[in-house]
């Protein structure tokens, strides 16, 4: 997530304990082989059953899931039997790794496969191979490109969130009373459910007839204020809600950064006669760059997942002005049950954001390197 991972290499590399008997090792190997064969056999049986070649009558694919779990246990036990102490150590990482492979890597690869299908879950005909057909459709889908463009706007607004969060962090870092109260109050929106906030702010406070914000705007002379009828106002209203919930996260990160600043450097600047404005831009801001980059990066990653508020407040309206990629695909599935096309859109999005984040990391590295070099 944040700072680049640093590794002090562990010292326990020496093999402890007695050499492992050959019989135990071969038993372990047999166990792994047996488990793997069992898993493969189960998959094969289920495929044969599913295609109707060998009707066994499985109700669902759960047997394969159980076979995977059994294989995982066999692999873990086998590791210990074959390798002894290093095997025990491998057991720390194996469960998480095997879990991740099962629920992230495999479904993602499966997603690439679905993306090449023309598959409507609600129609009676099963999946048809479609190749790059979905990609061609995607290229011609103005609503999808519109939602991608909206993501650019939303991501750009992260910088505004960052500026506000930095300001709040500075406030909390100043010499104030009741710091803990303010910190808790500022952090509270972070713990709320986006769906509840969709109602609390989006549907009630920003309601155009008797929502408090509309009443207030009328009082100060805005005629018939609405928040979700013109594209830019609607987009900003969504952004305000999202920012309200997530600014606390960046604020806390930046506050931690401020509190870790070396005191002497800041004081030295004061002695040199720098005023507060100068010492902020010359000292505090550059020193805070690594933390800032981390905060903006993580926030961007989460921003790219924005969906819940849009789904619940505007459903992408007006005219797709507030649509995010996630909320658009949500509706593609909800309204048309089109799994193949929806997954193709999602996979395309994944590739796009990976490229975007790699570029962003490059820029981030350059930014922070300049600071540390000085």
């Amino acid at each position: 997530m944040a700072a680049p991972p640093q590794f002090e290499h562990a010292r326990y590399t020496q093999n402890r304990g007695a050499p492992i008997p050959a019989a135990r090792q071969s038993m372990g190997r047999a166990l792994i082989w047996f488990g793997s064969l069992g898993l493969l056999a189960m998959i094969l049986l289920q495929i044969l059953d599913a295609t109707g070649t060998l009707p066994i009558g499985f109700e669902n694919w759960r047997p394969t899931l159980y076979a995977y779990v059994a294989w995982a246990v066999a692999l873990g036990t086998g590791q210990v039997l074959v390798r002894g102490e290093p095997g025990w150590r491998a057991l720390f990482v194996l469960p998480a790794a095997l879990f991740t492979i099962a629920v992230v890597v495999f479904p993602t690869l499966f997603g690439f496969y679905i993306a090449s299908l023309d598959w409507n879950l609600s129609s009676l005909d099963g999946p048809k191979f479609f190749g790059f057909g979905n990609l061609v459709l995607l290229m011609q889908d103005p609503f999808y490109w519109n939602s991608l463009l909206n993501m650019v706007y939303y991501v750009a607004l992260v910088l505004v969130e960052y500026a506000i969060a930095f300001g709040l962090a500075l406030l909390l870092n100043a010499d104030i009373k009741a710091r803990k109260f303010f910190r808790v109050a500022f952090l509270l929106p972070f713990m709320l459910s986006p769906v509840a906030v969709s109602w609390m702010i989006g549907k009630s406070m920003l309601e155009s007839r008797f929502g408090p914000v509309a009443s207030f705007l009328r009082d100060i002379g805005v005629e018939s204020p609405t928040f979700f009828s013109s594209p830019w106002v609607a987009r900003l209203s969504i952004e305000v809600m999202d920012a309200w919930m997530t600014i606390p996260f960046m604020m806390i990160l930046l506050l931690a950064g401020l509190q870790a600043l070396p005191r002497e450097v800041v004081e030295a600047a004061k002695v040199d006669g720098a005023n507060a404005w100068q010492s902020f831009w010359k000292i505090t801001f550059p020193l805070m760059l690594p933390v800032s980059v981390t905060a903006v990066l993580i926030r961007t990653i989460f921003k790219l997942k924005l969906a819940d508020i849009v789904i619940n407040v505007t459903s992408g309206g007006p005219g797709g002005a507030t649509d995010t990629v996630s909320s658009f695909i949500f509706r593609v599935y909800r309204d048309r049950s089109n799994v193949g096309y929806g997954t193709a859109l999602a996979v395309f999005y994944l590739i796009a954001i990976i490229i975007f984040l790699i570029l962003m990391l490059r820029v981030a590295n350059r930014l922070t390197r300049n600071v540390t070099d000085q």
């Binding site: 010292r11 990482v93 300001g167 406030l171 100043a174 010499d175 109050a185 952090l187 619940n312 949500f330």
Partner: protein, 306 residues
């Protein structure tokens, strides 16, 4: 931005800059303004749950002065004092969803904490080599899952869960929520384990404990604050999760956010009922959050500052 360090490092009153009083006013003014921004929506929701139709349309704000609070919103949920012991279908529905939310969020946070702590401990203490992957690569493999937007997994999971008969079940929801928080848990816990000196492990190893013995008897008790932080943060994220729940649950495992969302969608639902429902949905985590605030901060800032 003039507030930066002026106050913090002013040694005595004599040293204070001439505009000191003005600065204080500005700082506290800004603090109070944002406190209002942060808390008003909560106040609005809570107070609306005690309003009746007239008070809503007139935009009355202050109870007992502007409007007379009543239990209308809570009564429609079956949670007001006079209906709490009666029979109430909305309350049964609400409690059912509430329990579903607890089962899926606590279950997945526990699972993520167990899997994540083990992996993080391993990665912070031992040198691994799985094929071409070294420790750094394994860590990156875990953390990079954070980038994956839910939308990429949602539809494949819909299809896979259909095949596996896991749609709308607790285990199905727990698995998918675990994967969404596992990278965060691994990140926080590795940071936590890295702060525990290795000499401790070595001493315990010399005393004859195995690596697993060291982990459970020595390391886990010391790493407890980090574990609480990781658990609370996972709990917040999974309790509030909507996207997967909306696509993958229908009747059995439907969680609270899905219920709240389905109510907002329906026309003609009264504001006081929605306000009461929203309050009830956010209250548990708001309370947990206020009480365990320092753990949340610990979790959020893990590894961010050296």
């Amino acid at each position: 931005m003039a507030i930066t360090f002026d106050d913090k490092y002013a040694e005595s009153k004599a040293n204070r800059p001439p505009n000191y009083a003005l600065m204080r006013v500005l700082i506290y003014g800004a603090l109070l303004t944002w406190t209002f921004v942060a808390l008003f929506p909560l106040y609005w929701t809570l107070s609306t749950s005690f309003k009746s139709a007239v008070d809503v349309t007139q935009g009355n704000l202050i109870p007992w002065i502007d409007f007379q609070p009543n239990w209308k919103g809570w009564r429609s949920l079956g949670l007001s004092p006079d209906t709490i012991f009666g029979i109430s279908t909305p309350r049964d529905e609400f409690i059912g969803r509430f329990i579903n939310s607890i089962i899926t969020s606590v279950g997945s946070s526990m699972l993520a904490l167990i899997l994540g702590s083990l992996a993080a401990y391993g990665l912070s203490r031992f040198t691994y080599k799985f094929g071409f992957m070294r420790n750094d690569d394994i860590l990156f493999f875990f953390i990079s899952q954070l980038i994956l937007p839910p939308v990429v997994l949602a539809l494949p999971f819909l299809v896979l869960y259909k095949f596996l008969a896991l749609l709308d079940t607790y285990p199905g929801m727990i698995f998918i929520y675990t994967l969404t928080v596992l990278p965060i848990v691994i990140w926080i816990m590795r940071d936590q384990f890295n702060t525990i000196p290795r000499e401790l492990d070595e001493a315990a190893l010399v005393d004859g404990l195995s690596h697993w013995g060291v982990f459970f008897r020595i390391i886990v008790p010391i790493a407890m604050p980090g574990m609480v932080a990781a658990f609370i943060l996972s709990l917040i994220l999974t309790w509030n999760e909507y996207y997967f729940a909306a696509l993958l649950t229908s009747t059995n495992a439907k969680t609270l956010p899905v219920m709240v969302a389905s109510q907002t969608g329906s026309q003609g639902i009264s504001w006081w009922t929605m306000a009461a429902l929203s309050t009830a949905a956010i209250a548990p985590l708001a309370i947990v959050g206020i009480m365990l605030e320092r753990y949340i901060i610990k979790g959020l800032t893990a590894g961010a500052v050296k």
